[in-house]
């Protein structure tokens, strides 16, 4: 089955308009998996990630001490006023919607909060990473098609 990017775009649009949160479509060798509210929604995590607390299986005896997630000391500081866009998961970082296409953004690009900056793929599940703020892309730190860790800085954006 041959599908153009346009066809896929149409499928995604249809699903987006539907009442479903997640759709898996398989026709022969062709598989598409679309999820509306993937973890990738929380794309922008400026210092101190809002930790989703685990649901305790039993009432916790006392509030557990909170520790900020430690970041590697070697991590370079973002330029003044810039926001760090971190990867919300471990996976493969892609700058473009598909190989051979133009990257979503380049350094200097103006973005608004809802713009997709890149994709992080885990086992064929592609998560769109949104800008989260309006501003200018000042640096792209991750390398295309390389593995990125959970919480790894991907880009810096200077907000408007």
């Amino acid at each position: 089955m041959d599908l153009s990017n346009d066809d896929i775009f149409k499928i995604v649009k249809i699903i987006e308009a539907s009442g479903y949160d997640e759709v898996r479509l398989e026709v022969g060798d062709f598989k598409i998996h679309v999820r509306k509210h993937a973890d990738g929604d929380a794309a922008v995590m400026p210092s101190g990630i809002a930790e989703r607390r685990p649901l305790p299986s039993a009432p916790p005896p006392s509030p557990p001490p909170q520790e900020p997630p430690a970041r590697s000391a070697a991590e370079e500081a973002p330029p003044d006023g810039a926001v760090v866009v971190r990867s919300p998961m471990l996976g493969t970082f892609y700058r473009a919607p598909s190989p051979g296409e133009k990257p979503f953004v380049e350094v200097g690009a103006k973005v608004v909060s809802d713009d997709t900056l890149c994709l992080v793929e885990v086992m064929k599940l592609f998560n769109s990473i949104k800008a989260g703020v309006s501003g200018t892309v000042v640096k792209i730190l991750a390398e295309n098609a390389a593995m990125v860790e959970h919480g790894q800085p991907l880009m810096y954006i200077r907000p408007d």
Binding site: I49, E51, R52, R53, P54, P60, P61, P64, P65, E67, P69, A70, R71, S72, M89, L90, G91, T92, V122, M123, L125, A146, M147, E149, H150, G151, Q152
Partner: protein
């Protein structure tokens, strides 16, 4: 099957002391180790000593250590050719073994089919029975409370309702009277469905005074199966082991040989590969032993076996995964002296073993001849509240049980931990108790005897 995989780099899919233990085994074998850590474990000892650490997700295990796809992507992305699952988390998920295999990663452990066959307690029990290995008298699948009542009428009370897919005491109920049957049946069934997705129950006679004896087995891909003797893990609380020792102080040579033989026969018949443990219940009154279940992973308490045999079980697991033959034959295995392990947990025994996470303001572990400490802790380490509370395993080796107990007592006295509460005083009190010294402890002794005697008072002396 026996093709040499030649493992060069292992992904350690676990945390805590076992991650450290696996990395040490990798070092010894000249294999590189990459560890996947959650946000909460970025500063862990495993992350510090591994060749590389990658962050696989946020602190909650469901979003990090239990994410099979993420771990496989992390292992492939860091150039690993094998995955060691440790214990807990994904260690006994057949689906994880399969996913690793599909992506060309060698799983350091048994095949998915063996994990499945042994994970189904009823299936494992049937296999044992076919081989003439004693199983606790009971039933196959019980469909209804009515059938459970019939069993009670014929065989008497009390009995145990157990989940076929179960483990760790979940989906298990002690039924003491006919009146308790309907409620217990529904509760156990619902718990089994919720915890394991399978409500199937079966019945076992309840053994009032039981000792827990388990046999460490190693099997390679060439069909060699050996045992490394047994461990006695009777000091438990709510099915959680607290103190383990090797050899068992209550077996005579004849019984010891019979139990080991049963374990080897079962895993040989199952075509099992890697390290595995066959657990038995020993009736302290009748001295009959019964097959309980098989654990298809490295176990927390493996060091006591290493101390008395000199074997390195984790390194052996890795060699087996490469397709190499066992480095030891059964005739090479002899049990030397006696080893005991205490699990040191960050918990408050006086307050129903409430977890006590926090920063280790002080941390001085004992050291010396015949003393081994397996831990991921260091001074200033923050014990996170997200995972199990074990912070160290203290293992000692002595010429005999009496000298091992006294060495362990001295080592516990020299173990200084500040900033969190620990089970060290609990262990000291157990070791000082005459029931422990005389091996009269059964699996319900901690709850029904020891804690009721006022452990807090003993602690003050």
């Amino acid at each position: 099957m026996a093709e040499k995989a030649g493992i060069r780099r292992i992904f350690v899919a676990n945390r805590g002391e076992i991650a450290v233990r696996v990395i040490q085994a990798c070092r010894k074998l000249g294999v590189e180790a990459v560890v996947g850590v959650s946000d909460a474990d970025r500063e862990s000892l495993a992350a510090r000593i591994a060749d590389r650490a990658v962050c696989i997700g946020p602190a909650p295990a469901a979003q990090s250590y239990l994410k099979m796809e993420t771990i496989v992507v992390a292992a492939k992305g860091t150039g690993c050719d094998a995955v060691h699952p440790g214990y807990g988390f994904l260690a006994e998920r057949a689906g994880f073994q399969r996913l690793c295999a599909e992506h060309g990663l060698t799983f350091v452990g048994p095949a998915a089919s063996a994990i499945e066959a042994m994970g189904d307690k009823l299936q494992a029990r049937r296999m044992a029975a076919e081989l003439g290995i004693p199983t606790v008298p009971g039933t196959d699948h019980v469909e209804s409370a009515q059938r459970a009542l019939e069993f009670g009428r014929q065989a008497g009370y009390p009995f145990l309702l157990k989940a076929s897919a179960g483990g760790g005491g979940r989906g298990m109920r002690v039924v003491r009277t006919a009146e308790e049957v309907p409620v217990a049946f529904n509760a156990a069934s619902a718990e089994a469905r919720a915890a394991f997705g399978d409500p199937t129950l079966y019945i076992e006679r309840f053994i009032e005074r039981a000792r827990h004896v388990e046999v460490q087995v190693m099997a390679d891909t060439l069909g060699n199966v050996i045992h490394l003797g047994e461990r006695d893990c009777s000091t438990q609380r709510r099915h959680q082991k607290l103190i383990e020792e090797a050899p068992s102080p209550v077996l005579d040579e004849r019984l010891r040989a019979r139990i080991a033989d049963a374990a080897v026969r079962l895993l040989r018949h199952a075509g099992y590969v890697s390290a595995g443990t066959v657990e038995f219940i020993l009736d302290a009154d009748t001295r009959e032993f019964y097959f309980l279940e098989v654990n298809t992973r490295i176990q927390v308490e493996h060091p006591v076996t290493e101390m008395v045999t000199g074997a390195d079980i984790v390194a052996e697991q890795i060699r087996i995964a490469e397709g190499a033959p066992l480095s030891l034959a059964q005739s090479d295995i002899s049990i030397r002296g006696h080893a005991i392990e205490c699990r040191i947990n960050a918990e408050l025994p006086e307050q129903d073993f409430m977890p006590s996470p926090g920063r280790l303001a002080e941390w001085r572990a004992p050291a010396g001849e015949g003393i081994r400490v397996d831990t991921h802790c260091y001074p200033g380490y923050f014990v996170p509240p997200f995972y199990d509370s074990m912070i160290a395993k203290l293992i000692v080796h002595g010429a005999d049980r009496t000298s091992a107990i006294s060495k362990l007592s001295r080592a516990l006295a020299g173990f200084t931990v500040g900033g969190v509460q620990t089970t060290i005083p609990f262990h000291q009190a157990v070791l000082a108790h005459p029931d422990f010294a005389q091996s009269r402890v059964t699996t319900r002794w901690v709850e029904e005897t020891f804690m009721k005697q006022g452990f807090a008072r003993e602690r003050a002396t």
